[in-house]
Amino acid sequence: MNDMLKVSASPHIRSKTSTDKIMMLVAIALLPASLFGIYNFGIRALLVMLISIASCVATEWLYEKGLHKKCTIGDFSAVVTGLLLALNMPPTIPLWMPIIGGVFAILIVKQLFGGLGQNIMNPALAGRCFLMISFAGPMTDFTVPSGAFATVYDTVSGATPLAAMKAGETVELMPLLIGNIKGTIGETSAIALLVGAAVLLYFKVIDMRIPGTYIGSFAVFMVLYEIFGMGGLDINHLLCEIFGGGLILGAFFMATDYVTTPITQNGQIVYGCVLGILTGIFRMFGGSAEGVSYAIIFSNLLVPLIERVTIPKAFGKGGAKKA
């Protein structure tokens, strides 16, 4: 018998999940929304995605090569960042902007903080917000590029449905669900996003704790706002607020980013509620019709505080009873 046996401390078996498999699943779960984005906005949307992904992966590779660190592009996290960044951009964006965004996301937000697992904000969203602040015009120009395969439903004022609602228009719910509306590449189709979310839920990559409390608390905020601020409950307005804009994309794909969310289970509930309320405040009282991106990166910064007050009680020490 072989006398070169392997010896290590227990446990001796490992589950089949791994970081790269999880990241790959997230990328796959984003495919329906990405494909719909291409259908809705044409080949230019695909081009934005490819450039964004390539610049994220290249930045990570160059940084790690340059500093003689272990190359981690194989874990697919840079791919996911690149794809999310692209899905958060309007299709008409100048093609050099995704490059700037990708470099900022990976180099400044992720690598300089210590790489995967150490960043304090979601890199894709931080990249998006960086571009928003720097290039507000192109980042909010939602004209549909020529070459779109779909007929995009338009509001009276020609703005995105959320902006139209903010201006006082009434919009239809159906196009928001299907996605043939104006907006960023990946946020328009609620159905495509929910299909992807179902994949993540099925494979237990995410659970409903954050998306559920996020959307739930946002809905509660909106109901209260409608009753006290708009003079009455308006179900269509409520649903359009939920399915319009970046909420579904944000709640299922970005607010659930492991690295930048609390690890304590009660903390995740607190985090979800903070997100919902902030999004409501930003959308209703802020200057812009959108609020998801800022709500998420702001809440990212609250994570250490949330964790500190939600350390779970150990089993047998008077904590929560069994589920």
Partner: protein, 440 residues
């Protein structure tokens, strides 16, 4: 009502099909037998034989070194070859008595009893103590200590642990299936000690045949109930089992007795039965020899002290080169670097794996996914605790409840970044305990 269970846990590949259909085969050892003096928690036993002495089966060769200790009996007849340090499963050398088997199986006379009712409580505990019975699930805590709680009147539940939640192990399964009367008999002995207690035989629902058999055999018993449990690791961990069956919670500063419970493993209960009813000391146990490298995976009833090499031969040898050999289950067992090791009262399995999943999974950065949190039956944050352990941050480790870890291994198992979480927490925990002892 759903099946009884606890919060957390994992579902690893269970590998029980390899050996579950194989009846227990009695195995007689060939060469020398090695009896380490420390096969239990507590003081090592003191040898009472000398080199050259002749010993019989069932004879005491080492007596208990204190109250929290247990005597050791010869499982064969033969000549004492010496008392010397030998390699044990944990990788350390420990003093052991070596007996050369003469294959005669000359046996000391056992003192059987006709009826349990004729024995007083003290007599029962004395018999258990004299038989050298320890927790055979792996911990090796002397059973007579467990059976003598400070307030016996407060014991309400006797839990027979037939969960067998460790992957690959089928020894308890076979025992329950083949000798259920011994299990029930042993439980009755324990119930005799605690007037207020009810006896629960707890079995995971992946063993429906055991559940059916036990239910049938205990039909008329008013004090005994069979409790089917959800199949999930670590259902058989003491704290999880108590929670699942009684809804009570035990933390690290408590004993099961503080929650009115006593938990005993299947083989331990069988040993109690033999000790009290037949007067036979603990010198046999069931061991599963299995894994994908073993030609003919089997369950053996072995004499303690038998060399592991003999067990492999009896299982038809190996069909593949193993990369890892584990004594015990894959979740909590010990990896060993050779087979020239003696089996003890606490060895439940010998596992040969062709692939070592640990070395095949290099560690990457923690992505904070929380899978360790979902899996932790102690409701901890293993990824944080492991980081505190790596940084030797004792204060934070204790604040985040690191001392409540039961080392079940669920966090390391489920970690997608393949971090050795359990290992880090376990060693930090040991260090904190050692520091506390130093200060006290």
């Amino acid at each position: 009502m759903g099946l009884l269970t606890f919060k957390g846990g994992i579902h690893p590949y269970d590998g029980k099909d390899l050996s579950k259909e194989k009846p227990i085969k009695k195995l007689l050892p060939k060469g020398e037998l090695v009896y380490p003096l420390s096969q239990h928690i507590g003081a090592p036993a003191n040898p009472v034989v000398q080199k050259g002495d002749h010993v019989k089966v069932g004879q005491v060769i080492a007596e208990a070194g204190g109250f929290v200790s247990a005597p050791i009996h010869a499982s064969v007849s033969g000549t004492v070859k010496g008392i010397e340090p030998r390699l044990t499963v944990t990788g350390t050398m420990a003093k052991a008595i070596i007996v050369e088997n003469d294959n005669q199986y000359e046996t000391v006379e056992y003192e059987a009893v006709d009826s349990l009712e004729s024995l007083s409580k003290e007599e029962i505990i004395k018999k258990v103590q004299a038989a050298g019975i320890v927790g055979m699930g792996g911990a090796g805590f002397p059973t007579h200590v467990k059976l003598s709680p400070r307030e016996p009147d407060k014991i309400e539940y006797i839990l027979v642990n037939g969960a067998e939640c460790e992957p690959y192990l089928t020894s308890d399964y076979r025992r329950m299936l083949e000798n259920p009367e011994w299990v029930i008999g042993g439980l009755k002995v324990i119930l005799q000690l605690f007037d207020r207690a009810k006896g629960y035989i707890c079995i995971e629902d992946n063993k429906p045949d055991c559940i059916a058999k036990m239910t049938e055999l205990t039909k008329g018993e008013s004090r005994i109930e069979v409790k089917p449990l959800k199949t999930k690791y670590p259902q058989g961990a003491e704290r999880c089992l108590i929670h699942a069956t009684t809804g009570r919670d035990v933390n690290s500063s408590m004993l099961p007795a503080d929650a009115g419970c006593i938990v005993d493993n299947i083989d331990t209960v069988v040993a109690i039965h033999h000790a009290v009813m037949w007067g036979q000391p603990l010198m046999h146990r069931v061991v599963t020899v299995t894994g994908d490298c073993v030609k003919d995976p089997r369950n053996f009833e072995i004499c303690t002290g038998t060399n592991y090499e003999e067990l492999v031969e009896e299982a038809g040898g190996l069909k593949m080169e193993p990369e890892k050999i584990i004594v015990g289950g894959p979740m909590m067992g010990n990896a060993v670097y050779g087979l020239k090791l003696p089996s003890t009262k606490t060895s439940s399995a010998l596992l040969f794996l062709s692939k070592d999943e640990v070395s095949a999974s290099p560690e990457t950065a923690c992505i904070n996914c929380g899978k360790c949190v979902t899996g932790c039956p102690a409701n901890l944050i293993p990824s944080r605790l492991a980081t505190y352990a790596e940084n030797h941050n004792e204060e934070a480790f204790v604040k985040w409840e690191g001392m409540e870890c039961v080392a079940c291994g669920c966090c390391s198992f489920s970690c997608p970044a393949k971090r050795p979480l359990t290992q880090a927490i376990k060693s930090m925990r040991a260090m904190v305990l050692a520091n506390r002892k130093k200060k006290a």
